[in-house]
């Protein structure tokens, strides 16, 4: 068991999320940074879809009521274990009664805690992920609060500490071409890739909202609702793009500027308000190569870990 002493702004149970129900209006949910989840689980020899805790901003405090091993990944939110600093990218043996605390970080927004054997919670519609809007999955469909108990299976042995690097970050986010390029003026499509955007305070697990000082992308188009998914970049008439994330609804009527490629989407888990983002359009081949490169990074890690075990 893990006892939540303080949750911070948002603490939730996540895995890769739900598939197969989008036609019923059910969002994907799941870890905003699936690569962080995957690597953290790999370090513990867990299934890569084992449920993890997603910590947002920090200011969170957890007390372990049994022995286990954890892997910490994602943003460096200045975590301590019994007041001693610990670092993302590494595994740590945990003894009963130890306390894991997060302060806040200087960069990045979300940290992931994987535990040996995964977080135990009921599978709802093929996933343990918390659907925070619809209120199911995770622990009673809610974000975790002080006093909650998170189920884990005790693990008594100790593991040799191991660590992994996060895939390198890209400054310019790569985007698939817009299906609505003919609807938009050239000025909008060009403006999108020539502007530098600031992340708005109004961003959350549904989407990252962007603002630009130097370029106006306003328009007056409205479309019949079409399906949207994590990575879709909507452009509302106010000209402020929204990059949809895992908790976004399944359909929308704003035209799309394109879709963030799979290899870069995980970066949106870590953008903080006022961070700047730039975009570039890439070909389908480039997007595929980027994904293969990232998958290669994961495979190398798996091989390295196997030889160590």
């Amino acid at each position: 068991m893990i006892k939540v002493i303080k949750s911070g702004p948002l603490l939730s149970i996540q895995d890769f999320g739900r598939n197969g129900y989008r036609h019923l209006g059910v969002s994907q949910s799941g870890s905003l940074d699936p690569y962080a989840q995957t690597i953290a689980n790999c370090l513990l020899n867990n299934d890569k879809n084992a449920a993890v805790l997603e910590v947002t901003v920090g200011l969170c405090e957890l007390a372990f009521e049994c022995n286990t091993v954890i892997a910490l990944f994602g943003a460096d939110l200045n975590a301590t274990l019994d007041e001693k600093p610990i670092y993302p990218g590494w595994t740590y043996n945990i003894k009963q009664k130890q306390v894991l605390k997060f302060s806040t970080g200087r960069a990045g927004l979300r940290a992931y805690i994987a535990v040996k054997g995964g977080i135990q919670s009921p599978v709802v519609m093929n996933s343990k992920a918390t659907d925070l809007n619809a209120g199911f999955g995770g622990l009673n469909g809610k974000s975790l609060i002080a006093g909650d108990t998170i189920k884990i299976t005790p693990y008594q042995s100790e593991c040799t500490q191991c660590g992994a690097l996060m895939p390198p970050k890209r400054k310019i986010v790569r985007v698939y071409p817009s299906p609505h390029a003919q609807l938009f003026s050239k000025q909008i499509i060009n403006g999108f890739t020539q502007s530098s955007f600031k992340v708005s305070h109004n961003s959350n697990r549904m989407g990252v909202r962007l603002q630009s000082d130097n370029y106006s992308l306003t328009h007056s188009h409205s479309l019949p609702s079409l399906a949207v998914s994590p990575g879709s970049i909507q452009l509302p008439p106010n000209g402020e793009p929204i990059v949809l994330l895992n908790d976004a609804q399944t359909t929308g009527g704003y035209p799309l500027l394109g879709t963030v490629i799979e290899a870069d989407l995980h970066q949106f888990a870590q953008y903080r308000p006022l961070d700047t983002i730039e975009f570039e359009y890439v070909t389908f081949k480039q997007a595929l190569q980027a994904k293969q490169k990232l998958d290669g990074h994961l495979n190398q890690l798996k091989i390295a870990l196997k030889s160590k075990r």
């Binding site: 036609h23 399906a227 879709t259 799979e262 389908f284």
Partner: protein, 216 residues
């Protein structure tokens, strides 16, 4: 015959957009969308098949199949018969006692009975679902009931509310904020994540509202 637009959205998703073809009305196009969704469901290639308004988005299990589907989809569309889809009909027992029922009646200078009759008369088609789990976008609201949305949205529209917003009517499957006028309520659970079949209503189904009683 005009062809639908087919776009690759990513290496594993594609959009068939038929919204420009609706000279004969959006419903006839939508029937083809449901039939196409049904056709694609039989193939084991997709993670998700999502109908929206006169469009269908397909999410592939494997990137490698993208080219094949981009090429084949227009031909499949042209061979699809609109009536290949067998719809289920739902009778939604409705208590017409919503907080905005009077407002809607006054707005149109109708009696409350008129509003109830006009609303419960049609057979509505479930165009698609979205906004929240189990939220069905319905086709068929009588023009006489088109009502602009509330100027101030409610922070909480209770689960089961039957409401009118602009040219549409819908049932709220869960408590949620909303700017539509609440005219009634149903006790039928539309969405329950713990059930094996979590959602009562599927895209393409039909439904009608059956008035139960007026008052509390």
């Amino acid at each position: 015959m005009q062809n639908p637009h087919v776009y690759a959205l990513s290496n594993n998703s594609l959009l068939l957009d038929a919204s420009h073809l609706s000279t004969s009305g959006t419903l006839s196009i939508q029937k083809k969308i449901w039939s196409l969704a049904n056709h694609c469901k039989k193939d084991n290639s997709f993670i998700d098949i999502v109908p929206a308004m006169n469009s269908l988005t397909l999410y592939l299990k494997q990137d490698i199949e993208l080219a094949k589907w981009l090429e084949q989809l227009p031909a499949i569309w042209n061979n699809i018969k609109p009536n290949e889809f067998v719809a289920k009909h739902h009778k939604i027992k409705t208590h017409y006692n919503g907080a905005d029922l009077n407002y809607v009646a006054n707005f149109h200078s109708l009696s409350i009975d008129d509003v109830i009759n006009l609303h419960s008369e049609p057979q509505y088609a479930v165009l698609f679902l979205g906004f929240q789990p189990g939220f069905a976008y319905l086709n068929g609201l009588n023009k006489q009931l088109f009502t602009p949305r509330r100027s101030e949205p409610r922070l909480k529209v209770p689960r089961g509310s039957v409401a009118i917003g602009a040219e549409q009517t819908a049932i709220y499957p869960a408590d949620s904020p909303g700017g539509w006028h609440i005219i009634g309520r149903t006790d039928i659970p539309l969405f329950d994540a713990t059930q094996k079949s979590p959602c009562l209503i599927q895209p393409g189904d039909t439904l009608e509202f059956i008035p139960v009683s007026v008052g509390i």
